[in-house]
């Protein structure tokens, strides 16, 4: 299963949406992910993909962009652990 598939599964489960509604083009805010919800989603993604998401500003608007970002992090050496609190 590739990253996009896993992410689509995760979003459909977490937001109780039919799987077919969550496409690569789907906007994250249309799924129900607001700025606060993104914190929770990043937490789930870290666990699901066993990655550490650095505390950096990245423009992520669609499911596809988020999947690409996860792939980008998966080939990076692990970032320093810990997300700085806002």
């Amino acid at each position: 299963m590739n990253t996009l598939d896993k992410l689509q599964d995760l979003l459909s489960k977490e937001y109780a949406l039919p799987r077919e509604v969550v496409t690569p083009e789907t906007a994250l805010d249309a799924v129900g992910v607001d700025s606060l919800g993104m914190m929770e989603l990043l937490f789930e993604i870290e666990k699901t993909f066993d990655i550490v998401i650095p505390n950096e500003q990245v423009e992520l608007k669609t499911v596809g962009q988020l999947a690409a970002y996860i792939d980008h992090l998966r080939v990076q050496p692990r970032a320093a652990p810990g997300l700085a609190a806002s």
Binding site: G37, E40, P81, G82, L83
Partner: protein, 409 residues
């Protein structure tokens, strides 16, 4: 001072999540106390509690559900029901004139416990991002206001077992003094986690399991009482200025006429006769009524050795010889002790008893105690009563004793 009436009631309880079902069960002597089924229950000396059946995952939208501790899930469901009962939807309200006061003893304790488990046991790298929002004591009150846009005062009271009686009493003051027209008030508790249950167990205040019938383990005022049984749930009422309720043709359940608040400074847990009596006297004084006017008392009646004997003596001190003629019952024998939710739940029970003229029983009272010699309506509801006014007692660890008095309208 303005008159204040109750126009909406909602609850989530171990004996039902709808007001009529709740009262039917109480007057039928149905206990919501059960053996806990969770895996952790084998580690408890008394694996019993008043547990709630409520499918919160189905009730709330998924994104919101994940942000709510169990205590807030109960509170929001009860608030929705109270607001629906009050017929507020569609009525034009001034949002600034509507406030929300809630009570809770331990708030989002389950979120904290889960976070500690993840962090210390599972060695998780971080805790859930919503932990702060879920665990904060004011989460329930905040969500109720957010959901409806009520921008009046929003406060959360934490005075242990009297928290929600205090929330209702303080809300009453706000309307009475003209600062608001309407208040959503009540409380909630979700204490059925291993950590919280163990904490209560260590205090040696929890009842032993009745071997013949676990549902009968809480035995207030009985000589063989052995302690309290914890319960979970929430209760919320809509309080409203009388003229505001009349102007919108609201159905009025009762008038809240008295609130007594007294701090027992003798001991952090041990109650005193003087303290409990003084709270009742202050409530009577604020209502401008005599002890003889009270037709029913919903006792704090925890089922502990200390409370029940002290509360009995306090009622005798306030009511004199007339104390023997007043039906006094502890509905905790059926729904358990909801801690921060108890005062509001029993306030609703008191209103329903007054409205129906039926005093719910004190269940599982088979062995009279010489120290507890009042009419506790043992084991069977008392019907055809003429209850013009009812009193609801809530006494607390920490000493914040609160008493509410309602009048039939």
């Amino acid at each position: 001072m303005r008159r204040v009436v109750v126009t909406g009631m909602g609850l989530v309880s171990p004996v039902g999540n709808a007001v009529p079902q709740f009262f039917d069960n109480l007057i039928s002597g149905v206990s919501g106390i059960r053996m806990l089924q969770e895996a952790f229950s084998e580690r408890l000396l008394s694996p019993i509690a008043g547990s709630v059946e409520f499918d919160a995952a189905a009730y709330f939208p998924a994104a919101k559900y994940r942000m709510l501790d169990r205590v807030s899930q109960f509170a929001l469901k009860a608030a929705d029901a109270a607001i629906e009962d009050a017929g507020l939807d569609g009525d034009a309200l001034l949002p600034e004139r509507v406030g929300v006061f809630m009570g809770t003893g331990m708030g989002g304790a389950q979120t904290l416990e889960q976070g500690y488990q993840d962090l210390f046991i599972e060695q998780a790298r971080s805790v859930r991002p919503f932990s702060v929002l879920m665990a904060m004591q004011n989460a329930a009150a905040a969500w109720i206001a957010l959901d409806r846009g009520f921008s009046g005062p929003n406060l959360t009271y934490s005075t242990a077992c009297s928290s929600s009686a205090v929330a209702i009493g303080e809300a009453w003051q706000r309307i009475r003094q003209g600062e608001t027209d309407m208040m959503i008030a009540g409380g909630a508790e979700a204490p059925l986690s291993l950590g919280v249950l163990k904490a209560w167990e260590s205090l040696r205040t929890v009842a032993a399991v009745d071997a013949d019938d676990p549902a009968a383990s809480c035995k207030p005022f009985s000589a063989n009482r052995s302690g309290l049984v914890l319960g979970e749930g929430a209760a919320v009422v809509v309080l409203e200025a009388w003229e505001h309720a009349v102007a919108r043709n609201a159905r009025i359940h009762a008038e809240l006429i008295g609130y007594g608040l007294y701090t027992d400074t003798g001991h952090i847990t041990r109650p005193s006769v003087e303290g409990q009596a003084r709270a009742m006297q202050l409530a009577l004084a604020s209502a401008h009524v005599e002890a003889a006017d009270i037709g029913y008392i919903n006792a704090h009646g925890t089922g502990t050795a200390a409370n029940d004997a002290v509360e009995t003596a306090a009622i005798r001190q306030v009511f004199g010889p007339a104390a023997y003629g007043i039906p006094v019952s502890s509905t905790k024998s059926m729904h358990g002790h909801l801690l921060g939710g108890a005062g509001a739940l029993e306030f609703i029970a008191s209103i329903l008893a007054m409205q129906s003229g039926i005093a719910p029983p004190t269940m599982h009272l088979q062995h009279p105690d010489l120290e507890c010699d009042l009419d506790y309506v043992p084991n069977e509801a008392r019907k055809n009563l003429d209850i013009a006014m009812a009193m609801s007692n809530s006494f607390a660890f920490g000493g914040t004793d609160a008493v509410l008095i309602v009048r039939r309208v």
